[in-house]
Amino acid sequence: MKRLLQWTAVVAGLAILGGLLAPAPALAAKEIKIGAIYPLTGGAAAAGRELRAGAELAAQLCNEARSDIDMTMAKAAGIQSMGGAKITLIFKDHEGNPTLGADLAKKLILDDKVDGILGCYHSSVTKTVSAVCEQYGVPMINGSSTSPGLTERGFKWFWRTTPHDRWFTKDLFDFLVGLSEGKVRGVKAVPREDINVIASACENSEWGSYVSKVIQEMAAEYDFKLRKSLLYSDKSPDLSSEVRSLRASKASVLLFASYTSDAILMVKTLKTQKVQPRIIWGQDAGFDKPEFRSTLGDAIEGILTRSVFLPQVVQIKPVAGQVNSLYKAKTGNDLGGASARAFTGLQTWIHVLEMAGSSEPAAVQKAANAIEIPGQELVVPWAGVKFANTGSEMGQNIMGSGLIGQYQKGADGQMGVEIVYPFDVASAEMIYPFPQW
C-alpha cells in the first residue's frame, strides 16, 4: 500500500513536472512574425510610409474581429486554423539599398526568427532579399515590385501578387493604339503619326532599366518609333540635361519610370524647359504618390499614370471603400497603388497561413502554390490571387490587372485621378493633348 502510494506520488510528480515543461500550443495563441522590409527613409520614404500603413492596416484587420469589413480575414480575430494566432509585423528600413536589404533579411531570419518576409517595393532590393529567402528556405510574398525578371528565376520561396511591367506596358501600347482608333472616351480618333514618335526616361536600377527594355520591345512590336530611351539615376539631383535630350527628340509621347523625388524633379524640369508633348505617361511609382500631387499641384493635370489602384475603384468595389475609409482615418490619405498593394500582399500572407494551418515553411509553400483568393476579397480591382507554379513565371499572380489613370481637376477644384483605361471602365473623358504648361 505504501509502495503504491509512493509510486502514485512519483507518477503524479512527473505528470505535474511534464505539464510544466511541455509547451502548451493549444492554450496560448501563437504569434506569427512577418518581417516587412520597406524603404522607410531616403528618396522613396514617402512610398515607404504608405507601404507600412497599408501592411499595418491589413495586420490590424486580421488581428481584430471586424464585422463592418466584408473580408474573410476580418471576420474573426487572428488566424483561425492556428488557434487565433496573431500577426506581428517587424519593419526594417532598406533605404532603397539592395545590399542593406539582403543584410536585413538575414537579420530577420536568423535573429528575429521570422516566419516569412513581405516587401520590398524597389525591385532591386526585392531581388537580393528574395535570394536570401531562397537560400534559407523562408517564404517571401512580394506585393509591389514590378520588374518582370523577379518571377523568371524559378524561385521556390518567392510569390508576387502584383502584375508586372510587361503587362502594364502592354496596357500602355494597347491604350495608344486605342487612342488612334478612337476608342478613348471623349477623344476623336487621333492620327497615328501624331503619337507615333515616343521617347522614354527610366531610372537605372533593376525596375526602371527593365521597364526601358520592355518599352523598347513593345515599341518595335506595335510599330512605334522610339526616338530616345535614356536611363538616369533616381538619386540624380538635376535632370536638366536628360530633359533637354527628351526635348531634342521631338517625341510626342513621353514615357517615364520614376520613383518619387525624381518623378517630381522630372515634371518640374519638363515644365521649366517648356517641353510640350501630346502625352506624358508615368509607370506608377513616383507618378502615383500623394507627394507628387501635393508638390506639383495643378501642373500635373493631363499626366497619365499606370496604376493598380485609383480612388475610383472605391466606387466599383464596396470592400475597397470600407478599407479606404479606415486607411484615410489612419493616415489622412486615400489608398494608393503602394498602400493598396502592400495591404494585398499581407492579406495574401494571411490567407496562405490560414490555408496552411501552420507557419512551417513547407506547409506555407504548399498553401501558397495552391491558394486562390477570389477578387471580391481584394481592395485592388483584380480577378483574384492565384500563383503560377509551373512554367516560366513561377510564383507570379496570374489574375492581376492594371489601370491607366489621368490627373484631372474635379468640379471641387481638387486634383484627382480618373480612369481612362481599360476603355470599358473609363470614369471620365480624357484630356488630350497634354495642356500647355
Binding site: T41, G42, G43, A45, E95, N204, R227, K228, L230, L231, Y232, S233, P237, D238, S240, S241, E242, R244, S245, R247, A248, S249, S261, I264, L265, K268, K271, T272, Q273, K274, T295, A299
Partner: protein, 304 residues
C-alpha cells in the same frame, strides 16, 4: 542646333556656379597647402541654411544668402581653430585623413539633425520660372540667378584678395608664410581668415544651388569631386584659373547634349543607343585623370 545652343548656355551657367564652389577650395589650398575633403559638406550646410531659413522666416531662399555666408564663415573659422590648427602639426598624411574625418563628422551630424530624406525648395520667386532667350534656349530663372550671383560673389572675393591690404596679407601668407611673418603679418589669423572666406564662399554657392538642386546629407561628395577637378584643371591656388576651369567643367557636364546634337544631325542609328546621360559625370573624372597625367599643375597653377 537648338540642343547645341541650349547645352552650351546651360553648361556655362552651371560652370559659373561651380566656380564659386571651387573658389573656397582653391583659396584654402593656396594659403595653407591643405586639401579640404570636407569642402562639399560646407556646401551642404549652406544648402540647409538657405532652405531652413527660408522656411522658418518665410522668405525667398535668395534672401538668405547673407545668413548662409555668415554660417559658412563661422563654420570655416570654427573648423580651423578647433581642428585644423592641431592637425597642421602632424605629417601631410594626417592632414589629408584629418579633413576626410571632418567630412564624415559634418555629414553624420547633418544626418542626425536633418535626416536622410531629400529636401527641395518648391516655392520661391524664381522657382519653376524660365526665360526663353531665342534659338530655343530656355533658361530656368533659378539657374540664371544663381549663375549671376555666383559671378558677383566670385568677383567680390577676387577683389578682396587682390585690392585690399587684407587680401595682400593673405597672398603673402600663401606665397611665403615665413616671409609674411617677418613682415608682421599674423599668418595664424590669415589662415583662419582663409578658412572663413573659403567657407563663406562655398556656403553661398550652396544657398544658390539649393534653389534648383535638392539637398540631403550626402550631396557634398559630388561637389567635392567636381571642385577638385576644377581646382586641378585651373591650377591649385589659382583664383582666375578656377573660374575658367569651372566653365570648362560646366561644359563637360553637357557632353550628353552635344552627343544628342551630333546624333540628330548625323542621324546615325547606333548613336541613338549610346546611353550618354547615364555617364554625364563620368567625363568630369576623365578630365581629372587626363589633367593629372598630362599637366599636373593645371592650366594656371603656380603651386605644385
Amino acid at each position: 542646333m537648338e540642343i547645341l545652343a541650349s547645352s552650351i548656355v546651360a553648361g556655362l551657367l552651371f560652370g559659373m556656379v561651380l566656380a564659386l564652389v571651387a573658389l573656397g577650395l582653391t583659396i584654402i589650398f593656396g594659403v595653407m597647402d591643405i586639401i579640404n575633403f570636407a569642402h562639399g559638406e560646407f556646401l551642404m550646410y549652406g544648402m540647409y541654411t538657405a532652405l531652413l531659413a527660408s522656411q522658418v522666416l518665410g522668405v525667398d531662399p535668395l534672401l538668405t544668402l547673407p545668413l548662409a555666408a555668415l554660417v559658412g564663415f563661422l563654420l570655416g573659422i570654427a573648423c580651423y581653430k578647433g581642428f585644423i590648427t592641431y592637425i597642421l602639426r602632424g605629417p601631410m598624411i594626417a592632414q589629408l585623413l584629418g579633413t576626410f574625418g571632418l567630412m564624415l563628422l559634418l555629414r553624420n551630424i547633418a544626418l542626425l539633425v536633418f535626416g536622410s530624406e531629400d529636401r527641395a525648395v518648391h516655392h520661391g520667386v524664381l522657382v519653376d520660372k524660365s526665360f526663353e532667350m531665342g534659338m530655343g534656349i530656355i533658361v530656368p530663372a533659378t539657374k540664371l540667378a544663381a549663375a549671376g550671383l555666383s559671378v558677383v560673389a566670385f568677383v567680390a572675393v577676387w577683389l578682396l584678395m587682390n585690392r585690399t591690404r587684407m587680401g595682400k596679407a593673405l597672398t603673402a601668407t600663401a606665397l611665403n608664410p615665413q616671409g609674411a611673418r617677418y613682415m608682421g603679418i599674423s599668418t595664424e589669423k590669415m589662415n583662419a581668415l582663409a578658412w572663413g572666406i573659403g567657407g563663406a564662399s562655398v556656403t553661398v554657392a550652396g544657398a544658390l544651388i539649393v534653389n534648383f538642386w535638392p539637398v540631403n546629407p550626402y550631396v557634398g561628395l559630388l561637389f567635392t569631386m567636381i571642385a577638385f577637378t576644377i581646382v586641378a584643371l585651373g591650377g591649385f591656388g589659382s583664383v582666375p584659373g578656377a573660374f575658367f576651369a569651372a566653365l570648362v567643367v560646366g561644359l563637360i557636364t553637357e557632353i550628353p547634349g552635344f552627343w544628342d546634337f551630333l546624333t540628330y544631325t548625323l542621324e546615325l542609328d547606333w548613336m541613338y543607343d549610346v546611353p550618354m546621360t547615364s555617364f554625364k559625370y563620368m567625363w568630369i573624372y576623365v578630365a581629372y585623370f587626363i589633367i593629372m597625367v598630362v599637366r599636373p599643375r593645371g592650366l594656371f597653377g603656380w603651386k605644385h
